[in-house]
């Protein structure tokens, strides 16, 4: 049967290979490429201040981190409340090089892609170590393992003089082929670097999920006994999920350290872990598009909360510091409300909108 390569009216798959395609129609591919081009080109036409560029960069970094958390929580069904600590491992990998070699050593300023990869590797190793109890236990207990890792991480950073007792460890400015990246170009430069990484890793995750190594995560989540019977090792699969998530978190951490030109304790606390979890839940657990919506939604919400707190401060002119109170309150409410009313997250709304336009002008 010859089918329309641009508009599919239904599923006409005759092989599993076809079903596993990344883009179902050419239209999907076209839209995706146009979207990418827009993402790469818009900064040349629109002038944005450093402040907003920083927000955009932060969203992109969170997307990288959420790839990892989503693989772990969404696809492998393991809750992690230590994700900020894994991100911190990446950041402090770079920072400890800066600490030993000096913050403008050639390794840090010139070989930064290598450093970012290395941070990912260290994150993966640490993730696998934290995930080791998964060899023997089911998921409930692993929450506690990740929580205790968060605590151990916080202690290590706060009490070891090597890590400057939680004070910021600075990292020098990096070099590109055109020379040193100066202050004016900093956020602009990192926007492109992080965007490229987001795109590459996004495609990697999408690809991973259609190979046996990705699908075994889902199989173990859904029914570990059945997965065992199919020849997968549930324990090893979970350890592997932790390592994967640690890898993404490590890369996000290294990017964070480079973007903020330093690693400090306050970006990797338990609260940050919870907001990462909020991002994953709001975006939609177990979907790749959720990894994009979640960070964007939560960081925008965070900005609005800050604005609201400022506004309240001006209106009531009291020494009322609502920001510290409102932030956990909104994050908590968002987590709880999404879990109760829309467990599939924003990704579900996206699915509904998409299918509406796909089928238009028909209802179904």
């Amino acid at each position: 049967m010859s089918q329309n390569r641009w508009l599919a009216t239904g599923n006409f798959f005759t092989s599993y290979r076809e079903e596993q395609r990344i883009f179902l129609t050419n239209l999907d591919r076209l839209v995706f490429i146009c979207f990418l081009v827009v993402l790469f080109v818009w900064p040349f036409f629109l002038e944005v201040g450093n402040k907003y560029m920083l927000v955009i960069d932060t969203i992109l970094i969170s997307i990288v981190a959420i790839y990892g958390l989503n693989l772990l929580t969404g696809f492998a069904g393991l809750i992690s409340i230590g994700h900020a600590a894994f991100v911190g491992v990446g950041a402090y990998t770079v920072a400890s090089f800066a600490r030993v070699l000096g913050d403008s050593h050639v390794l840090i300023t010139h070989a930064w892609p290598l450093m970012i990869l290395l941070a990912g590797g260290v994150g993966a190793v640490v993730g696998a170590i934290v995930g080791l109890p998964a060899m023997r236990l089911k998921h409930l207990y692993l929450v506690i393992a990740t929580l205790s890792f968060q605590m151990i991480f916080q202690w290590t950073i706060n009490f070891m003089s090597f890590f400057n007792q939680g004070q910021t460890i600075s990292i020098g400015r990096v070099f590109w082929f055109t020379g040193k990246i100066v202050r004016k170009q900093h956020y602009f430069f990192w926007y492109y670097v992080i965007l490229v990484i987001v795109v590459i890793l996004g495609l990697a995750v999408r690809n991973l999920l259609r190979t046996r190594y990705g699908r075994c995560l889902v199989a173990v989540r859904d029914n570990d006994r059945a997965a065992d019977a199919m020849g997968m090792h549930p324990g090893l699969t979970k350890v592997y999920a932790f390592a994967l998530s640690g890898f993404f978190a490590g890369i996000a951490g290294a990017l964070h350290a480079y973007l903020f030109r330093g690693a400090g304790f306050e970006s990797f606390t338990l609260h940050q872990s919870i907001s990462y979890l909020a991002m994953a839940i709001v975006g939609g657990l177990g979907t790749l598009v959720g990894s994009f919506f979640g960070p964007a939604a939560i960081i925008m919400l965070d900005l609005q909360v800050e604005n609201l707190a400022e506004f309240v401060k001006i209106v009531f002119s009291a020494a009322l510091d609502l920001a510290t109170a409102l932030r956990p309150l909104t994050f908590g409410l968002v987590i709880v409300l999404f879990l109760i009313f829309e467990p599939r997250g924003i990704a579900n709304w996206w699915r509904i909108v998409r299918s509406y336009f796909k089928l238009w002008p028909f209802r179904y």
Binding site: R136, K138, H139, L140, S148, I152, F159, D228, A325, I340
Partner: protein, 297 residues
């Protein structure tokens, strides 16, 4: 040697408070298999309510201590009713995530009160001079705290072993389907489990508040230290929670007494419980007294 006994004494004091904090956690886990991440916030709420009733309203401290336990009883019950009742039948993973959300919400609510930013301390109502026996000194607040803790633990143990409600809670934790078929209302038992957990958390909060002063971070930390305690004792064992609480208190005091200051270490008391936790998860996941029914993968 008296230094050693001093550490033992304060370890037992801290440990019995850990035991009381862990009790509420185990209660919820036992009946509904939910890990309540928000337990520390409930402990803090209990302490703050006690303080508010004592100092701002002016009720005698023993009565306000009881009243705060009752208020937190209903508070926890309503938390269960509003947030968790809807999730019965949902996968347990989303229920745990809801408690993470709850923790964040309660944090926010407490930050809005004066307790979030400032430190308070209870008015002195006991003699200030510590009791010392053979070089070991214990303050009156600590002594009274330990006595109240022991009474409460004994009460809870009786409640589980003998009372009808306690037995029905144990039945639900054992087999939900079977207990439904003999007429036990599962939602009611879950609500009751949360309520009793709130009750014991408020008691723990009041005692901690009296000993260490009211600092939100300190109180909240008790909800997290509960994890190593319950893992050591076995997640579903009330007796294990008590024993492990005291062991954990001793370990922390010894770490603070002997490790800190030597070999450039400091703050090890905050680190050791979590390392112990990870080791126990690796090698003896059901803890000391847990039931060996943990499903292996």
């Amino acid at each position: 040697m008296s230094y050693f006994f001093q550490l033992v004494a304060s370890g037992i004091v801290v440990g019995s408070i850990y035991a009381l904090s862990a009790l509420g956690f185990v209660l919820i886990y036992k009946s509904s298999r939910v890990l309540n991440i928000a337990h520390g916030q409930i402990i803090a709420a209990g302490a703050f309510i006690t303080y508010a009733l004592t100092v701002w309203v002016g009720i005698p401290i023993y009565i306000s201590f009881l009243m705060s336990m009752i208020i937190t009883f209903f508070l926890a019950m309503s938390v269960e009713r509003v947030f968790l009742r809807r999730l019965i039948g949902e996968p347990i993973i989303s229920v745990i995530m809801v408690t993470i959300g709850l923790m964040s919400i309660l944090d926010g609510v407490i930050y809005m009160t004066p307790f979030g930013a400032e430190n308070f301390s209870f008015p002195e109502f006991l003699p200030k001079t510590p009791i010392s026996v053979g070089g070991v000194s214990i303050s009156w607040t600590q002594l009274v705290g330990v006595i109240i803790t022991l009474i409460l633990i004994a009460g809870f143990t009786w409640f589980f072993k003998r009372s009808t409600l306690g037995i029905s809670m144990r039945a639900v934790s054992d087999d939900q389907m079977a207990s439904m078929s003999i007429g036990i209302s599962i939602p009611k038992v879950f609500g009751l489990a949360w309520a009793t957990a709130g009750f014991s958390a408020a008691a723990a909060g009041g005692i901690i508040g009296n000993i260490t002063g009211l600092n939100f971070d300190t109180l909240r930390a008790f909800g997290i230290i509960v994890f190593p305690v319950v893992i050591l004792g076995g997640l579903d064992s009330v007796f294990g929670a008590v024993v492990a609480g005291i062991i954990m208190g001793l370990i922390q005091q010894f770490a603070a007494g002997y490790l800190d200051g030597n070999w450039g270490l400091s703050g090890t008391a905050d680190l050791l419980p979590y390392i112990i936790l990870l080791i126990i998860l690796l090698f003896k996941p059901h803890g000391l007294f847990g039931i060996h029914e943990i499903e292996r993968v």
